[in-house]
Symmetry: C2
Subunit: 375 residues, 2 copies
């Protein structure tokens, strides 16, 4: 009886507190309406059981990004803008079709990213930026929210679609992350499309590298660190692509693919292939793909921190994403953003840069394609 | 008045619930006594401000591990055990001296790990295991809980002390993670000790590789995946080393160094160099170093998840570590453990294997050296 009485009093209290609005936030210990889950395993089991019931009308949704950065309308020609919008729409429609036809979120993520990898517009696959040594070294990762399985590859130079390699690492190896020549051998052994490294050459990216190298040379007080922090150089790294999706079966997935930073050296690995930083998916919470200044996304554990905040604090995806991008990663000094979907199909774009190439589609087929901060 | 009344009722209720013990866990929305922190930045600022007051009597502490796995007393000779205990004691005393003399937790972590890297007993540095191609490829990472800065290196073959390289990446580059040949060039440019790859040859590790390769060949139904999951092979990977420490200034740090898995191929990268998986430190919560089956530690985001659970759920380090190792990583199928220190100097060992080489020391100089699950 004592238990029941207590439960009743607490319920009344919670209701009263809710009515009082902000009082509860500022002056009292937090009472979360949706109490955080004690075991992720329980949540996963619950989510996976629900998924058995295939629902033709189930909500599904997909979000993509093509990089964040100093993207200003004044620097963009109408033709260039149209080109970006068209490619973003092509990519998201590709993923949407997969979901609509009953495909998995993993397939939708892979296919949507493939479209952007095969375009020279984005810093991934065909449009990858150049390293200091004038090579193209690509990173990618993917994660399955149902099983928490994941795959990643770092520093490959001849795999046409790095996201396919990340997927193969997840599906066909006992590993999560492969790198360099070894990853290329694995890709070839697993029948992925191998191209000559010259496939990744584009005038635009090569010229960007030369411009940065010239800037380095002419800066009297330059050192490697200074040159790297130069705003011209900093902004040249943007263009990573990524996708997060929820399928009809209630399964979340996220993936990210990138050429990294222009002029990167010493085998630098950014956040894109790092599970928890560039990519994270968990059916109990959300699926996230990051883009931006990778070092800060690793230090702030951006993708996993959003999920953890939802799981342990019981906040919404929107709130968690805002907090992590602006108050955590942002306050460390980082710039960039994320796209994410939660387990109910809610989609979020969040970034602290002037723009982010992005698009979303829900199960009603409603399409949104945006570039600037204020569209 | 209404606010004050509400506050009073809630306080009484919390007190009553506490008295009721477990009722609150099982039947009611969770009311955290210590409400989770809204901004990590605030916590960091607070922690850093406190640290300005150098306190001669401040609590400091240090924990190390030399790997977890199927370590059974029946398989160990008294001589071998004495050798491990002596080296663990040497390593932790090295770190302890740094802290006692007013050094930083980053220095203590680096120095303690150096001792284990320079010993053939552990799978790091001198004792690194062999890859499938009969090379030694080492990974390491380190993180500073005060600034959330971090450094990591993956797949180096000629850097004598990979933890020093991780430290140099953090201190002397704008990057968090470097890999392969590029990382080796960076190491040489930054004056780190470069050795001939043959320095890492040990009969013991080479023979272990040959044994595993023979097992692969003789298994009729073997495929790469199967061979990898074989328990002999699985256990051959243990021996990663790591350290977590709190210094007199209230700053936390953690570091990890490894040769990875025996027979690893395709440039496989495990959790040791992955910030958030193998290593994480945050003055607001704790410092963690992992050891075990790396793939599962990445998928479960072990090191960061422990910190996030403390931050957002307000639980103790002990509780968070137990939950993550046994109910999250463990239930995915992974094996291994962690050592960790929280911001108040509390130390935790947590593992789901038969043993973990480990040691701890607090500011009173109390030393603990343990190997088996039950010592």
């Amino acid at each position: 009886m004592k238990k029941v009485a207590l439960l009743f009093v607490l319920s009344v209290l919670i209701f009263t507190c809710k009515e009082e609005g902000k009082i509860i936030d500022s002056e009292m210990p937090k009472v979360e309406q949706e109490s955080p889950v004690t075991s992720i395993k329980e949540e996963l089991d619950k989510a996976n059981n629900l998924n058995i019931n295939y629902d033709e009308d189930a909500q599904f949704s997909i979000v993509i990004h093509g990089g964040a950065g100093t993207i200003l309308k004044k620097n963009m020609t109408p033709e260039k803008e149209a080109e970006y919008r068209a490619k973003l729409e092509e990519a998201i429609r590709k993923g949407y079709e997969v979901l609509k036809n009953g495909g998995t979120s993993l397939d939708a993520v892979t296919k949507a990213i493939n479209v952007m990898e095969n375009s020279p517009l984005f810093n991934a696959g065909k449009g990858a930026v150049f390293t200091h040594e004038e090579t193209n070294e690509m990173d990618a990762s993917i994660m399955d929210g149902k099983t928490l399985n994941a795959g990643a590859s770092a520093g490959t130079t001849n795999v046409k679609n790095p996201i396919d390699l990340a997927r193969a690492v997840m599906d066909d190896s006992p590993h999560v992350m492969l790198s360099g020549k070894g990853a290329e051998i694995f890709a070839a052994e697993n029948g992925l499309e191998i191209v000559d490294p010259s496939y990744f050459y584009t005038d635009r990216r090569f010229n960007a590298l030369q411009k940065i190298k010239a800037t380095e040379k002419t800066e009297l007080d330059h050192d490697d660190k200074q040159a790297f922090y130069d705003s011209d150089i900093k902004n040249s790294k943007f263009g990573t692509v990524g996708c997060a999706a929820l399928d009809k079966y209630g399964n979340l997935a996220a993936g990210t693919s990138t050429g990294g930073m222009t002029n990167k050296r010493w085998g630098r690995i950014g956040d894109a292939p790092i599970i928890g930083s560039g990519t994270y998916a968990n059916n109990a919470t959300c699926a996230v793909s990051s883009t931006g200044w990778g070092e800060y996304f690793i230090r702030a554990q951006v993708a996993h921190d959003i999920s953890a905040m939802m799981e342990y604090k019981g906040v919404s995806l929107e709130e968690a994403a805002r907090e992590v991008i602006h108050n955590k990663m942002g306050k460390l000094g980082g710039t960039g953003g994320i796209v994410a979907v939660d387990k109910n199909g809610n989609m979020v774009f969040e970034f602290n840069t002037e723009g982010m190439y992005r698009a979303s589609m829900n199960d009603k087929g409603n399409l949104k394609v945006e570039i600037y901060e204020k569209n």
